[in-house]
């Protein structure tokens, strides 16, 4: 079972790297929430493996990489993952389109939480730009879902 868990670990690591990889400034605003999508997939597929704890831990690493106050991203990731784990059976039965919209809503919750916490720590103004990643996440989700499921079945991750 060791190698199978390693695969989850590797995908999360790739998610972290994709989250900080440099992009041209004009595309940077649309960067999809790689880490949130990957965590959502695993929380839905294997809720006994990836849960709120894993989400919070990766959130802390993201905080260190981003230089935000420790706990901001762990807080913001834990709540959407909680919602996924609480409703994973319902989500598994949704069509791919419904699921993409659900993920979009979760991503918006994630961004609003980050905004809210940042506002609490250092006052910043809200701009709609902060929610654009949610739309790219919706577009990305079907492909990522298909890819991760294919690998999960092939490698027998459970």
């Amino acid at each position: 079972m060791r190698s199978n868990r390693t695969f989850i670990f590797i995908t999360i690591l790739i998610g972290l790297i994709l989250q900080i990889i440099p992009m041209p400034t004009q595309f940077d605003l649309y960067r999809p929430d790689w880490l949130l999508l990957i965590l959502c997939y695993w929380a839905m597929a294997l809720p006994n493996r990836v849960n709120v704890g894993v989400a919070a831990l990766t959130g802390v690493i993201l905080d260190l990489l981003y230089g935000t106050a420790l706990g901001v991203h762990s807080f913001a990731l834990a709540i959407p993952i909680f919602l996924v784990v609480a409703n994973y059976q319902r989500m598994r039965n949704q069509s791919i389109l419904q699921l993409a919209i659900t993920i979009g809503v979760l991503s918006m919750i994630y961004h609003l939480l980050i905004y809210w916490l940042q506002f609490w720590l250092t006052s910043i103004d809200f701009r709609w730009v902060f929610l654009w990643p949610s739309f790219t996440s919706i577009l990305l989700w079907p492909w990522l879902f298909w890819l991760l499921r294919k690998f999960r079945r092939k490698l027998g991750v459970s």
Partner: protein, 295 residues
């Protein structure tokens, strides 16, 4: 896999534990000063991820440098040579002026200005969160970088070192909303404070009375008050002044001198007494140049 009877604490308990830990961490991280060394330690642990994320960009710039044409290189060389010649001319006058200034200061019994030691650092192309303006550079504690150190580019102040890791460190830009830098107008020495507003192309002055003597085009330089920034380096130029009498203060916008969105190489400054051995002073540079000429 056992989905019907999950093991361990219930989901809500887990969430409550995680969220309370997050809130405590946020509070401690922002309000307690002494944890910053612990944070620097954690940052050094995750820095391999930053190096991996930096690799594609580094590979592209490497291949660009490998395949740049001979024609381009020759053009670059020509441009740089003419630039050096022009700068050297300025430098010749500068040396005389510096000597004169030193003499005058000794005559007046005023303290002679210290020379700064410098080191060139490079931007690690690591993206940061959109809510604050920070960059990561490739010099850290082993190079002698210290928190609060001034960072410049070739045309002005960029910011200050906010967090030091072992081999890299984080720089807070002057355009960040939480950043403010004491400045003075070079024309008449009026002291002011320049605030970041979260825009790389614009800074602002707050709480400036309408009657303050300032004009569009005035150069602002660091005043050195506050003992964080080293004095005498350019910050920006006043781009617009709105003196609306119905407002309590004048609204002043500043264009930063440094190109905050086009950073590649940066300069770290040390005062003479705490400079590490690798950092060079202007005298050493001059001596090296003379040695090269002699050969």
């Amino acid at each position: 896999m056992n989905e019907v009877f999950p093991r361990g604490p219930s989901l809500l308990t887990r969430l409550a534990v995680v969220l309370s830990f997050s809130v405590i961490a946020m509070f401690v991280d922002t309000k307690v000063e002494s944890v910053s060394t612990f944070r620097a330690y954690l940052t050094s642990i995750v820095s391999p991820l930053q190096y991996i994320a930096d690799m594609p960009g580094a590979a592209i710039s490497w291949s660009v440098s490998r395949f740049s044409s001979r024609q381009n290189l020759l053009e670059d060389n020509e441009a740089l040579t003419s630039q050096i010649t022009l700068m050297n001319e300025q430098l010749q006058r500068f040396v005389v002026l510096q000597q004169e200034n030193k003499n005058l200061r000794t005559l007046l019994d005023a303290p002679v200005q210290q020379e700064m030691h410098k080191m060139i650092a490079q931007l690690m192309a690591v993206d940061n969160n959109p809510y604050s303006h920070q960059i990561v550079i490739n010099k850290g504690a082993i190079d002698g970088v210290y928190p609060g150190q001034s960072v410049l580019d070739e045309s002005g102040i960029i910011g200050q070192v906010s967090e030091v890791g072992t081999t890299n460190s984080r720089v807070l830009l002057i355009s960040d909303v939480t950043h403010a830098i004491p400045a003075r107008i070079s024309r008449n020495n009026v002291t002011l404070i320049v605030n970041g507003i979260g825009d790389v192309n614009e800074l602002s002055l707050e709480h400036v009375p309408h009657s303050t003597d300032m004009k569009e085009g005035d150069l602002l330089i660091s005043s050195g008050l506050g003992n964080v920034f080293i004095q005498g380096y350019p910050i920006g130029v006043i781009s617009s002044i709105l003196r609306d009498e119905s407002q309590p203060f004048a609204q002043v916008k500043i264009t930063p001198s440094a190109k905050l969105d086009r950073i590649k190489y940066l300069l770290l400054l040390w005062p003479k007494d705490i400079a590490p051995e690798d950092a060079v002073s202007a005298e050493e540079l001059r001596a090296a140049a003379e040695l090269k000429d002699a050969q």
